[in-house]
């Protein structure tokens, strides 16, 4: 069953540019969103001698 679905997936991937584009967008977007908290840097504390 898994082989059948993977074959269908490969056929669709090769056949449709629209499918390829959307799969790439979804995967890249998901990775971006997962990495988003790590990208957000915490603000540095002010220097000690600041008045």
């Amino acid at each position: 069953m898994t082989t059948r679905y993977s074959l269908l997936l490969v056929a669709l991937w090769n056949d449709s540019w629209f499918f390829r584009l959307n799969v790439i967008l979804a995967i890249v977007g998901l990775i971006y969103l997962l990495l988003l908290p790590a990208q957000q840097t915490t603000p540095l504390p002010p220097p000690a001698n600041t008045p």
């Binding site: 629209f18 390829r20 890249v28 969103l33 988003l36």
Partner: protein, 393 residues
Amino acid sequence: MSHWATQLVDPRLSQLLQIVSLTLLAWLGFKLLGRVHWLLAVVVVLLAASNAIAVWLLRHEPQVLAGIYSKPFAKRYVDWVCRCTGDQPPVAHSSNKPGGELVLHSDRDFGIAAYRAKQIVRGHDQVIDNLFSRIHEAVTLRQRRSDKGSQPPFASLLLVGGDGVGKRYLSRVLAKLLFRSGGVLVFECDRVTPEVLIGSRGTPGELLEAVRRQPFQVVIFDKIDAASAELIQTLSSIVSRGTYRSPNSSRPISFANTIIVMTTTKAASALGSLAQKSLTEGTWHREAMELVVSETLLDHSLLNAVSAVFLCQQTSDLVKAEIIAMLMKKESKAHGVSLSRVDPEIIVSQVLQIDDATGFGLVPHRIKLLLRKPLVAATQHNHKLLSLRVRWS
């Protein structure tokens, strides 16, 4: 150099390059969106995921998508996905059942539709009865068919008859009575080329694009005897197989839910003599085909795929008068005026102007000219009733 060139055109490498460049572009795009607001990136991810799922369903589970497609809110979205992929919108099995795109189902439905068609298209009662009975047979067989794969069109009909007898009008009425959308496509075979119908690389064909968008249609090929050899070959492929692959897409367009009507004026007199004989349906079909082949030089492969040949004969003078009166009434009604009385002399003069060469082709135009001045006068004086009388001088 040649080694690198070969590597560059290698499809695997080009696909890999495409994926890498798309990934980089997507990453940059998400970075930009993230700067505005991270929720925008979430929306794009959800949209992309739903697009990918929709394409999967369209190709592998069309019945699931057909269920969603029948909902008004999803129709536009699925249409948009289909336009992007070059696929036909999914056709549910229930489209051929009551409530679907096909309006006529039972014996009663077809009986009423034939009666209505006879009220609208005068003088072709026999043809209308046979036409509706043939389509009824096709619909019944389609409903019972277990294999839902590639199927030929509902019916491929050849209408033979002189100019202006109402072949095209009859086909239009058939479309309105049979399909909810009432879609009709007309192609003049002496003017169109196969490229116009099926398209070329980068340009969608008019026929394939129209049938892709709306699979339930009556497609009329007028003056089929004037079609080029390439056009005949294209048509016979569509009629016999029921599908055609566009040069722009790997997906075939299905004609399974269309009715193909081909018309010709040639062979009308020969078929007229044949119609005088009392022949069985099978003998009529075989002999009519032979006559059409000898008179029009049409290809056997196309005619073999035609399911029925109908002869639309010139109507009697009484029927012509009836049609003229109907057209006059319709024209007056379009301007908000009721036609209360028309002198018979006016109708007779119109009947006498109808010749065999043009038939009813010019009649609507002549009626418009005839009614122009009386309608202008009625509109100026705000009259709701109009009476046309002969002014004897």
